[in-house]
């Protein structure tokens, strides 16, 4: 009898401990969301999305340039990171032998673990120092490098999930190997690959360190891709350590917008995946 009570007690303790930890996972996200909203989100207004930052010392203004800048940087990063990750992933999943793919996979994991500030220094050295000025190109380059490992691994993973009988079906109809990959395997894995790419973009969207000395920042619109470019994360950094109360509020608001963007990418990715399954 005592034994039974002890077992029930242990069960109750373990159950509540795991439950508390599980709830705290959700709690942290909602706490951050709520905190961001309370401190900044509620000050969000139309100006924030349409106006340039106000001159130093004045209140008001917005971060339209940073929002557009972030979009530009992410576009460049995707243009650099996605093709390399995609094609590399196709190679690993479809053509690779044994040793080389192993090495590539291992290196990709290492690259994934490289601290973002190091990637920033690298981009600074090979791009910024060469052309002697900060630019969106440099920032996009740094973010693109950070995108490669995840794009590579997720592409490979989704391609491997394409069932063998689909491949056999294509080959049995007289497809060559590359026709099979392009017309059957990749389309079958497309939604997965796209959702992986979405998560990848969401991940680098919030990177600050590699942008500090590559795309730098700008209080005005930057034309084209060859000028210092504002971005939300760097803007948050600058405004949060600035001396003005209004700047702090704007930093919180920018944080709220950035988090909302990242969540949107994440949710889109989930939707893509669930749509795939229900078909």
């Amino acid at each position: 009898m005592a034994n039974l009570i002890r077992r029930r007690m242990t069960n109750a303790v373990m159950f509540s401990m795991t439950l508390i930890c599980a709830i705290s996972v959700i709690g942290v996200l909602f706490f951050i969301l709520g905190y961001l909203f309370w401190n900044g989100g509620r000050y969000l207004n139309w100006d924030f999305f349409t106006k340039l930052p106000a001159p130093v010392g004045e209140s008001g203004g917005g971060m339209a340039n940073a929002i557009v800048g972030s979009a530009k940087l992410l576009l460049l990063a995707t243009l650099i990171g996605a093709p390399i990750g995609l094609l590399g992933g196709i190679y690993l999943a479809e053509f690779g032998g044994r040793t080389f793919p192993f090495v590539v996979r291992y290196v990709a994991d290492l690259l994934n673990g490289v601290p973002s500030i190091i990637v920033g220094i690298f981009a600074y050295t090979v791009v910024v120092l060469k052309v002697r000025h900060f630019s969106a190109w440099a920032g996009g380059f740094a973010l693109g490098i950070m995108m490669i490992p995840i794009a590579l691994r997720s592409t490979e993973e989704f391609l491997r999930q394409v069932p063998r009988n689909l491949r056999e079906g294509a080959l049995a109809l007289g497809a060559t190997r590359s026709q099979m990959i392009l017309t059957v395997v990749v389309p079958a894995a497309m939604r997965g690959i796209l959702s992986g790419l979405m998560l990848d973009i969401a991940r680098v969207a919030g990177e600050t360190a590699p942008l500090l000395f590559t795309s730098f920042g700008n209080r005005f619109w930057s034309e084209g891709f060859n000028k210092p470019t504002a971005s939300l994360p760097v803007m948050i950094f600058t405004y949060a350590i600035g001396p003005y109360e209004d700047w702090h509020r704007q930093a919180w608001a920018a944080g709220f917008v950035l988090l909302a963007m990242v969540l949107m990418f994440n949710i889109t990715s989930r939707l893509l995946m669930s749509w795939r399954r229900s078909r």
Binding site: N165, E168, G169, A170
Partner: protein, 298 residues
């Protein structure tokens, strides 16, 4: 195989002649059909030379034996069934005919396996051509996650057929041949995955027919579908065997007896007995065959 026979390998059409090849194949199929109409009596196709010949053909997975020393001739325009217990090499033999075993590493073959007099294991054989002439339907329905239309048009498109009217015609004809047209004609552009299992299998059959093959390999085509759909597939086999050479692997002996003219019994990688279906089922010459078909073994 003599040098003379392998010389014919080079007579295999080059890729850029593929469209023409198809016409030839159609012409050939028509020819055979005509010949069949005027055949005297007896078993269909029997007066024609065999289309698939195996001579002391063996296949090994590394050191493991897949099939060993198979010698058999398969007649054109009739149905040949391969039966036998699991793991006896039925599918292995079937997949050797269109070289699907190439996907498996460390596969090695010995002896000779010819389709239309061409050694399929010859290095010069164009796999694309071979597989267009030797179509295959798999055990599990495997439609591509595309529309019904795109599934059927897949093979012809690979052959370079792009012109819409020709494609439409081919798709309709193939779907009709697979007795699926009436069920899907209203919405050819819905996803193939929305079809039922039996419909999917008939779609896979239509897809294989669309490349105008001479030979149709069926690897347990009914094992993943229900009895009614099975009945439909069997009816189709009956209709199609006028125009195609069909080789079917099945676990279901009644099915073999129902649909085939010749039956081969495989056991542990060996061909035990091969002959007219009636004879094999009513008066087998080997003890092992008798044991298997009466259910005493396997």
């Amino acid at each position: 195989m003599t040098r003379g026979m392998t010389q014919e390998t080079s007579a295999l059409p080059e890729p850029h002649e593929q469209v023409d090849t198809r016409r030839e194949v159609i012409a050939l199929a028509d020819n055979i059909a005509i010949q069949k109409d005027v055949r005297p009596s007896g078993r269909r196709g029997e007066h024609l030379p065999p289309i698939i010949c195996a001579e002391k053909f063996s296949l090994y997975y590394g050191r493991k034996v897949g099939v060993r020393n198979i010698t058999m001739d398969i007649q054109p325009c009739c149905v040949t069934a391969i039966i036998g217990p699991s793991g006896c090499g039925k599918s292995t033999f079937l997949r050797s005919i269109n070289r699907m075993n190439d996907l498996i590493p460390h596969v090695r073959t010995e002896g000779l396996l010819t389709v239309n007099g061409v050694d399929v294991n010859d290095k010069r054989v164009n796999l694309v051509n071979l597989r267009q002439q030797v179509g295959m339907v798999f055990q599990k329905p495997n439609p591509f996650p595309k529309s019904v239309y795109d599934n059927v048009a897949y093979g012809p498109r690979l052959q370079g057929v792009r012109w819409r009217p020709v494609l439409n015609e081919l798709v309709e004809q193939s779907l009709r041949d697979a007795a699926l047209w009436d069920e899907v004609k209203d919405d050819l552009h819905k996803s193939a995955l929305s079809l039922s299992g039996g419909q999917q299998q008939r779609l896979c059959l239509a897809r294989a027919l669309a490349t105008k093959p001479k030979v149709l390999l069926m690897d347990e085509p009914c094992s993943a579908i229900d009895p009614i759909a099975t009945g439909k597939i069997e009816d189709l086999i009956d209709q199609l065997c006028d125009r195609y050479t069909i080789v079917i692997v099945t676990h279901n002996m009644q099915q073999a007896a129902r649909v085939s003219e010749h039956t081969a019994f495989f056991c542990l990688g060996d061909l035990i007995e091969f002959g007219p279906t009636e004879t094999l089922f009513t008066n087998p010459s080997e003890k092992a065959t008798e044991d298997y078909i009466t259910g005493r073994f396997g």
